[in-house]
Amino acid sequence: MAHNDGIDGDDGQMGLQDNGTYRVPNRSSRTVDASMPPTSVNVSRGTGAVGAPLRSLVTVALGKAIRASLRLTRHGGSALPGKVVETFDPAFLARTLSSLPYGVVLVSGTNGKTTTTRMVASMLADLGLKVFTNPTGSNFTRGVVSALLTKVDMRGRLDADIAVLELDEAYAVRFVRQVRPRYALLLNVMRDQLDRFGEIDNTARLLGKVAQATDGTVVLNREDRRIRALASLVPQGSRVRYFGLSRELRSQFPSDDEMHAEDMAGVGPFGSLSVSSDATVLPDATREALGAVKADRAEQGADLCRKRQRGADVHADVVLTKSGPHHAGFTMDGTSFESDLRLDGLYNLYNAAAALATVRAVMDDAGMALRASMKQSASAVKRPEDCDADRVQNLDPRIMKALANVTPAFGRGETFDVGGVPVQLLLVKNPMGFRMSLASFPPQGCSTMIAINDDYADGRDMSWLWDVDFASLRRTGVEQVTGVRAWDMALRLEYDQVQVANVETDLPEALRGFLAAEPDKPKHVYCTYTAMLAIRAQLGKYADVPDAGVGR
């Protein structure tokens, strides 16, 4: 795909520059009729302007033909069919998705989109809904169109009850200009690839447009102040629900703003470096002198903690209360639940809270709609299996069971067995995500590799590595550093006084060496997106690696 898509830097309406071949859609003509009631389940199939069915026939035939010819020429992962269809029939997306009885769930935010989308889709499917979702990594509108083309019949109809779509922030705005989601799950705003989005507040504004366009329920992260503030933008008639953290867990999830403040409170790279209790790092006199600095910093940190408490006043529908290895506890509407999960890591478990809140919102509506439809004996509604109104009251245990079946998303905590030793891939994209991963997977007893590339999908700017605190790796050191920017990473680790055993920019060679060294030790591989794809492909030589269905 074209990696030179840039931001156009206007008031946050980030359209892509598609070499002039595609105009930003005219808002009024492409917006789905906003009069569609949020809980209505009686939407007739194939709505649209006169002539739309005919157009669908041609569009779908065209799209499928392009796809088929691409398959023949072995361009499996191409978004070209989507591109052609977007140009030929710009209303295809809106027309197709508007036929879904339970509407669209849009998932966006900086971190955790893929994992959370997978959780929501998997749980809804477990609960009996027929779910359409976009495949991993195609979180652009065009990817959604391409994915739809593979699923619709020749008349352009999608056989599904609900769509769960992951969209990155800029594309989410483009998407909601065409389709009003019934549900929006907005996860967080953190500094990501700033070379793509510009600024964090701008990113929040983009998500604000999604909140404004959602006509059912907006699910928000209570602990992220920028996301929490979006509640004021939710249109009248739409509802807001929150997911959150218990007081005990809140301290383990610093927000983006606090990330730096906590550095200054003596827990970050500088704090731990300057005020280290490790006598070998600095002489006593130095540590004593720095004590005063630490006190100042601690005070700043405390001030931020007090600010954060304000968020706790807001009631959260789902609260993560407990986090252990493959185990989590949640409170939902005051009732506690605990479960073993196939997911792992504090961070994924918080995403699970987000998914739970969203699934509950959908199932509540589904239950209400069913009760309403049963009263009217309307048969137009397709009844989700297991979803009869009597049992809706007692949904939470079943939702928890559905959560227990969710497996980690592609490259996000996926574990492979290499000669009897677990090798875990941990995708890292930005400082907060990297920090959370480091906190979620303690390095003791494991060997660590870090692979950093700087392709467009990884982010070209390496600055973000300097916002990650690597002190937790000081004791074990890092066995192998690799990727195009291996030397940047090695330099970063040196400044955090983390020993690096090997630096090798050639990724296959590095992986070979890493797996061979200390063959009995479990392994953690932190990797940026394209490095993860490359490592996953290489791992196929050593382990059983399922095809993830995305291009290299």
């Binding site: 206007d10 500088f270 300097w466 940047d488 090695a490 400044y495």
Partner: protein, 254 residues
Amino acid sequence: MTSDELSRPIDVVSLYPNDMNIYGDWGNVLTIERRLTLYGFQPRVHAYNQGDAWPEHVDIILGGGGQDTGQEKISDDLFKRADTLRGLASQGVPMLMICGLYQLFGDYFDTVDGNRLPGIGILGVYTEGQEHRMIGNLTESSDQFGSIVGYENHSGQTFLRDGVQALGTVEHEGTGNNGVDHTEGARVGNVIGTYMHGSLLPKNPKISDFLIRTAVTSRYGEFKPTGNAEQRAQLEHIDAIATKAAKVVMTRPR
């Protein structure tokens, strides 16, 4: 001998770290802190945010980039401290200002919306907003520092007043201060302003050492590292890695 002369502290001010730290600017603070330690000095980092007391002693000031909201938030306080900062600059205190604070250390920044954000006028530069952002890996040449590598990301076009020296020159149009005149950054006395982050200082140890030498010489009369053999070896090791990292940057696309 006073206790200061024994422990040889160097006071480093991190300017508005809560609001102006967007591009890994912490890496610059960390680099100065670590290198001072390895040279045998005692770094004392002061995080100065709006409303804080100004540190009693200041040897180096480091400032970073921010969002528009960050620039607005610190603007009032920056003007309150403008005389202090101008005084320190004229005394030769070394300073490094990246991106947003580079702009605010200039005369003014006219935004695309037609607003004028006044600067404190330490660097003789002015900035005009434009729609187009200049983003990407960049290498510039400087007589004093050789090749400087980094990553720029700004929409403002910055122009140097007559007689103001650039930090370095860039080869390609569309890069650097304004995309037109092949300059990047500015240098007035010991104050450096630049759009280069990435972070700048770890990857360009010559600039780090310029700031450190200038600060130490000014405070203690001479730059005399007292790091032990192990610390010297560590510095060499770090610098060898920095050289390799810089070489990679030069080969990467924008």
